[in-house]
Amino acid sequence: MSDQFEPVIIGFTCNWCSYRAADMAGTARMKYSPNIRLIRLMCSGRLDPTFVLKAFAGGADGVMITGCHPGDCHYVEQNYKAMRRFVILKKTLAQLGIETGRIKLLWASAAEGAIFTDEVNKFVEQVRELGPLQWPTSGGGLEKMFAMPEQMLVKEVSA
């Protein structure tokens, strides 16, 4: 056993293209890093950015969001919405002190098992280099992080 840091990656895949790309990689026995665990969504547009925050808060070191190629969305154009949300999410993460290298957006069609595996491998290496995510998650997690500082709360002023 090596002592090298094994990042935990959560992958969100859409039902129509990228989940099938993962299936295709399986059927074709294309090996890739076991660090990624997938959650199937119907569409990349279903990805609520809070899922990503929750993943980081829960101990993930990286999050990969995958969908159909632009123009190929099963739901016409919802991956474009995912793309826009991704840009905002990246900025938000940066402001929270999370390196933007910990998040990745990938377009993979059902036929692109090889692209899927290559990109997973590359992303795992990228996150491995960033090291474990040091986020204050113990006890309270997100709620504590986002809690309003006391002095900012409106205090009752006596007449």
């Binding site: 119907m42 919802q78 069609s109």
Partner: protein, 670 residues
């Protein structure tokens, strides 16, 4: 604890058990997930077998399981199987979750320890998720009995006839003025050497006359809406400038039209047609079209020869483009192929050296109804070639162009060799890299062609040139190729070269895929639901593919696929209604603030806004279940059935459970 969860881990023979310690996964689930409601965890050799399913059914009945998690293959493969097993045992099928430890673990990882750990995490994810599942009922929608067939080649024709004979209505849309497709251009078909037109035109006539078929040629689909059972299709009917009610198809307009045009489509550029034309004499329907681009009247404002001579006054220059709306329940796409453009391989000289022909051009030369009346001539139109080289795999099996085998070229080239012998008595050289003759009576045909004296030279041709090196090569085309069977370079001078060009997806296959909600493979062919077991269905329910649009294939295979797609369509029509996944969004109107963000997110216009109550509502018949509105709702007022926030977040917690136990799991609902 109200839920009783059963966990079933499949060995899949050694497919999973070879890399994942399945017994350990089951044991871990039973012990570590007990507090989450897991009452039983088993591993079994083949969960999808009837014995495996019985195991689940027995546990549901005896142990009173309320939730089932199966860790096996991809849900795309066996979700239905296990949902049915649950249903048989009286459990709502949507209380079953299939998690993939084969495609996502055992087949893609080699480290047994890591694979087992990952499997545990995935099982935990499934267990956490299933807690939040609700019993669901599939939406049942009626199937509109009419069917749309796009493309009037042999695959589309076969599909349309099967369905129409079955008693339901078919709309056939074809872009060209006549149906028939590429098959109508051929003279003979391999390996039987049947006359192509003789076997095809009766079928075309059947399509034209069938009471159950509405034939729309010179028309294109422009828009598709709806879902399985209820598609609304918009069709653009291009103006023919011929009144089909009065036209008798007598052909006088074509005789009288003074404008000759090179026919690039049907005659592959070798012959002429008029500006008013039917592509070939047996065209169905028999009505000609006026080609606006080349018609003297449309270009210069005078002529009208066709109008003057038409005995029934059927010419109508005022016709306009019309759009047509039809409702259909299902759609078959048989949009065919384009021939590989041989100009893309400049060293073969097509387009530069006059006597280099493509396979389609050679088909037209040999066709009795073709531009030369079936005589094989060189480009000068009079000389009969004394030697012909046929080059296989042009643009196929070549990573510079197309990686795949075009499947028909070997047999087609053998057929050409035979026809060349028959019609010219020339020496014929076939340059091949492999001969592939796997179907019925194909190899026997190959042997026959060899006995006829065709020379077979194995090796990819490097170059076709007219640069002679010795007097014997003067005025000839020289094939420079390595003969890999004797290990030597050879130069063979010939009079004519035929390039067996490969098949390529239609230039607009991607756009067609997009319009119908299908995807294309990296080569551009439309993707089937499963390459082996579901070759004509697609990932979009209610849409099927047949013929070469799905991948290169010959006439028998295209016909078989057309019939197969028809059988699938008729099966659905017989059922009268179809069950749709109940994955739909719903708005909790108490929480909705009426911000209308979701309204703009929906591409299906499924979200209505009630001005009076200032809240939004999802129309479940239009909702496709993508969930973009769920993710976009700032008030959290929209829930996506089957993919709710709770379900996804719970799965996330499960997946992360092993590595970091930092999250407090949400309390199990009472």
């Amino acid at each position: 604890m109200t839920e009783k969860i059963g966990v079933y881990v499949c060995h899949c023979g050694s497919n999973i058990a070879g890399t994942v310690d399945v017994a350990d996964v089951a044991k871990w689930a039973a012990e570590q997930l007990k507090h989450r409601g897991v009452v039983i965890a088993r591993d079994y050799k083949f969960m999808c077998s009837s014995l495996g399913q019985e195991l689940i059914e027995k546990d549901i009945k005896e142990l009173g399981l309320t939730r089932v998690v199966v860790a096996a293959c991809s849900p795309h493969l066996h979700e239905k199987t296990f949902r049915n097993a649950c249903k048989n045992a009286g459990l709502n099928p949507y209380l079953c979750e299939l998690v993939s430890i084969r495609e996502q673990v055992s087949w893609v990882h080699s480290d047994k320890v890591a694979a087992t750990e990952k499997s545990k995490a995935i099982v935990a994810g499934g267990v956490e998720r299933i807690i939040w599942h609700e019993p669901l009922t599939p939406l049942r929608v009626p199937i509109h009995p009419a069917t749309l067939v796009v493309g009037g080649g042999i695959a589309g024709i076969q599909a349309a006839l099967e369905i129409a004979d079955g008693g339901t209505h078919v709309y056939m849309v074809e872009r060209e003025p006549s149906i028939g497709g590429h098959m109508a251009q051929f003279d003979k078909t391999f390996p039987t050497l049947d006359c192509s037109a003789c076997i095809l035109t009766p079928k075309m006539v059947d399509v034209g006359n069938h009471p159950n078929i509405t034939l729309l040629t010179w028309a294109e689909v422009t828009h598709v809406d709806g879902y399985v059972g209820n598609f609304q299709v918009t069709i653009r009917q291009k103006p023919r400038y011929i009144d089909t009610a009065t036209c008798t198809g007598c052909g006088i307009c074509q005789e009288k039209c003074p404008k000759k045009v090179v026919d690039e489509v049907f005659e592959a550029g070798l012959g002429y047609r008029k500006a008013v034309y039917t592509p070939f004499p047996q065209a169905v329907p028999k009505f000609p079209v006026i080609d606006r681009e080349n018609c003297t009247f449309f270009q210069k404002g005078t002529c009208k020869a066709c109008e003057k001579f038409c005995p029934t006054n059927a010419i109508n220059f005022n016709q306009e483009e019309t759009t047509l709306q039809i409702d259909v329940g299902q759609i078959i796409l048989a949009t065919g192929y384009d021939l590989f453009d041989a100009r893309r391989i400049p060293q073969y000289g097509y387009g530069r050296l006059a006597n280099v022909f493509t396979s389609l051009e050679f088909e037209r030369l040999t066709n009795a109804a073709g531009p030369t009346g079936g005589k094989v001539f060189l480009r000068d139109g009079v000389t009969v070639p004394k030697s012909i080289a046929i080059i296989h795999c042009v643009g196929s099996r070549d990573k510079n162009y197309n990686n795949y085998c075009s499947s028909i070229c070997c047999m087609q080239s053998l057929k050409f060799a035979h026809l060349a012998h028959e019609k010219t008595g020339a020496e014929v050289y076939n340059f091949y890299i492999d001969i592939r003759t796997p179907a019925k009576a194909y190899d026997e045909f190959y042997q026959r062609i060899m006995e006829e004296g065709t020379h077979f030279i194995r090796g990819r041709v490097a170059e076709v040139t007219d640069a002679a090196r010795n007097p014997g090569e003067e005025g000839k085309l020289i094939i420079q190729a390595e003969d890999t069977l004797i290990g030597k370079q050879r130069r063979i001078p010939v009079d004519m070269v035929v390039l067996s060009a490969g098949l390529e997806p239609r230039h607009d296959a991607k756009d067609v895929g997009r319009m119908f909600g299908l995807s294309c493979s990296s080569d551009g062919w439309l993707i089937e639901r499963h390459p082996k077991l579901d070759p004509v269905a697609t990932m979009t329910d209610g849409i099927y593919i047949a013929g070469v649009a799905q991948g290169p294939k010959d006439i028998p295979a295209s016909v078989a696929q057309g019939a197969a797609a028809a059988a699938r369509v008729m099966g659905k029509i017989q059922q009268k209604e179809v069950a749709m996944e109940p994955i739909r969004a719903t708005v909790n109107q108490d929480k909705c603030s009426g911000c209308r963000i979701c309204n703009n997110l929906c591409p299906f216009s499924a979200i209505l806004f009630h001005e009076d109550k200032m809240v939004s509502e999802v129309n479940p018949a239009l909702c496709q279940g993508c969930g973009t509105c769920v993710a976009g709702c700032p008030a959290g007022a929209i829930t996506g059935t089957g993919f709710s926030d709770q379900q996804i977040l719970a799965q996330l917690e499960g997946l992360l459970l092993l590595n970091v136990k930092r999250l407090e799991p949400e309390p199990v609902p009472a």
